[in-house]
């Protein structure tokens, strides 16, 4: 089966997802959704490791929620929480995304070319072979990586703004890492977060991810590979360990 086009104009998300599921069930590998305008939940709970969905337009919230396998490419902005509780697959956004991007994401990749809203990467986690990656080309707003429990979150600050210049960065972080190009002003770090320069080993680990991001969006990779980065992680492995006493 070749690429299947769906004209999504005026189609409700439930019908749209039904059509997508039917195509995938019949062996379709490439689906192109045209005229997407605010439909939520596209690819919600969808399986299929070799399925690619291209979205032309602006999808609504919870894009690729619970998704396990497919790749979704958005030519436009995305609303809040793309990749919410996502398990596997990829979401590539040629634009910006709203709040809570990659909320509780457990696996797969999300690349956002431009900016993201508040609480980006909140409570991302990792488990065994699953380590979610969120890369943001532009900047992020407050509470970036809050409650983060695992995974890799990179913010590149490519739009001439600092990667993040709002409060609560890594607030309550207890696993995973937040990497920013340059550094975050100390006053913006959240409770329980600490910032350090990257070691050369850590740098070697993230550069392939950044290179891939640059390739996907055809951005000049050289300045990114040459830049300095900081790493924000949990100041203590157990941020809540000293909070309680037995009755």
């Amino acid at each position: 089966m070749g690429a299947v086009h769906i004209n999504a104009k005026d189609i409700h998300y439930t019908q749209l997802n039904e059509q997508i599921r039917t195509i995938v069930a019949r062996g379709g590998k490439e689906i192109i959704l045209d005229n997407i305008l605010g439909q939520r939940f596209i690819g919600d709970g969808l399986r299929g490791d070799d399925v690619t969905i291209t979205i032309n337009g602006v999808p609504g919230g919870d894009l690729a929620m619970f998704m396990s396998g497919p790749t979704i490419i958005v030519h436009g902005n995305a609303d809040h929480a793309p990749g919410n509780t996502m398990d596997k697959g990829a979401v590539i956004i040629h634009g910006s995304a709203g709040d809570a991007v990659a909320h509780s994401m457990r696996g797969g990749r999300i690349y956002v070319r431009d900016n993201i809203g508040y609480r980006g990467g909140i409570h991302m986690k990792q488990y065994k072979g699953k380590r979610p990656i969120l890369v943001v080309g532009g900047s992020a707003q407050a509470f970036l990586g809050e409650y983060m429990a695992g995974g890799l979150l990179i913010v590149l600050g490519l739009n001439d703004a600092a990667p993040v210049s709002e409060r609560g960065v890594g607030s309550g972080i207890h696993g995973g890492e937040i990497i920013v190009r340059g550094e975050v002003e100390e006053r913006y770090l959240g409770t329980g977060a600490k910032q350090e320069p990257l070691t050369s080993e850590q740098r070697a680990e993230i550069l392939p991810v950044i290179e891939d991001f640059a390739r996907v969006f055809t951005i000049d990779k050289e300045p990114l590979l040459a830049a300095d980065y900081s790493r924000i992680t949990a100041a203590h492995a157990r941020p809540f360990a000293n909070k309680y006493t037995w009755e």
Partner: protein
Amino acid sequence: MSIGSTPLKFRVTIDPERCMNCGRCVENCSYGVFRKEGDSIRINSRNCAACHRCIAFCPRDAIEIEEQPGDYRSHPVWTREVREAIFNQARTGRIILSGMGNAKPYPIIFDQLVLDACQVTNPSIDPLREPMELRTYLGKKPASLSLRPLPDGEVELRTKLTPNLQIETPIMIGHMSYGAISLNAQTALAKAVSRIGTFMGTGEGGLHESLYPYQDHMIVQVASGRFGVDINYLERGAAIEIKIGQGAKPGIGGHLPGDKVCTDISCTRMIPEGSDAISPAPHHDIYSIEDLKQLVRSLKEATEWKKPVFVKIAAVHNSAAIAAGIARSGADAVVVDGFRGGSGATPRVFRDHVGIPVEAAVASVDAKLRDQGIRNEVSIIASGGIRESADVAKIICLGADAVYIGTSALVAMGCRVCGTCYKGTCAWGIATQKPELVQRLDPETNAVQVENLIHGWTLELAELMGAAGINSIESLRGNRDRLRGYMLDEGLLEVLDVKTVGA
């Protein structure tokens, strides 16, 4: 140590006349009260949690546990609990963690409500002779039905019905996660609900693969930490429950300490071994009723609209208005968890002081939904402090469709309500992950006990209904006329919409 030690909570004694030195107390106590020294058994009463495991297994009834053998100077304001909490916090500067449900002696509304029975003017019904309909359907009911006559004389139902859960008795088992309780305990509960034809909740701990055979009787939970949640988990559950709040700790999240995250729990919750499992206070994709609607719909969309989605809230001051919002979110049931609801570990200050009783919350939720003409949009599940069949009957009269039990089911497996769950050394194999303690709980034996309990309550419920001349649970639901308040104040009678005794 300027505070010094506090008086013993319990004194354990062994009657030497009766003791035969068998050492079962030493083997059974997981708190380190007993030890064998030569031919005698020595006792350290300070470690005792009053879980009664030793008493239960002493073949000679030789052990006695006395509560508060030496007490402080009595004082009505400065109680023992208050003084000891101050000592504790003066030493540590921390938040006090406690187990089980609310331990304050607030009056229990259930115990001030009485049920009705038929005399002379309408006959009571004998459940032995007449069928009693206890089957309940949880989920949305259509506001109206559209029917079309067919040429062959049959009638076609044109209204699209939404999925409901069918339960054979209005008693389900609430969400106690693998982590809070042991896998053997969960397995016993799963076997029991499968046999009875009712359901249990997984809690926010994922669904262990050994429970897959019982998945048609499991309600899978999606809480703020999203632990163990993936599309497979959602598809396995018979229904999905979004946990917004818990009666034992309204408004706050939960922290399963990393030292309790063993290999198996790590697999089920899908987090690395030894890492803290932190459930944030809010769901960070729900900051409003509109956002809740989005989560409800995302779950339905992910499971192709085949499963009911419940929303659980702690009973708080504005439960009624909140429930009205939930009813409009597309949810199929609202679970109202009262302030007596249990917990494996909760800050004492929340357990004892935050939230309201389930009786008042359910009555006001039911009234609000009826006022707004949306009672059919959601079922109401009551939980938190349901101790006996009479409580089930009374809360159904106040408007609930069904109940969740938690502590009662644990008591059916041996729990003595010692409230020390948070220590992780439950001698009964319930609230522990230590293999040597977990293996004490035989899933099959305990499944039978839990099944017996629910069966016994169901029989009693049928008798209570029959006595009131009611043969269908539908006619009991919201039937406040079959309740009377005994020594309840006017304000509360109004909230419950119940008349006083004698009226």
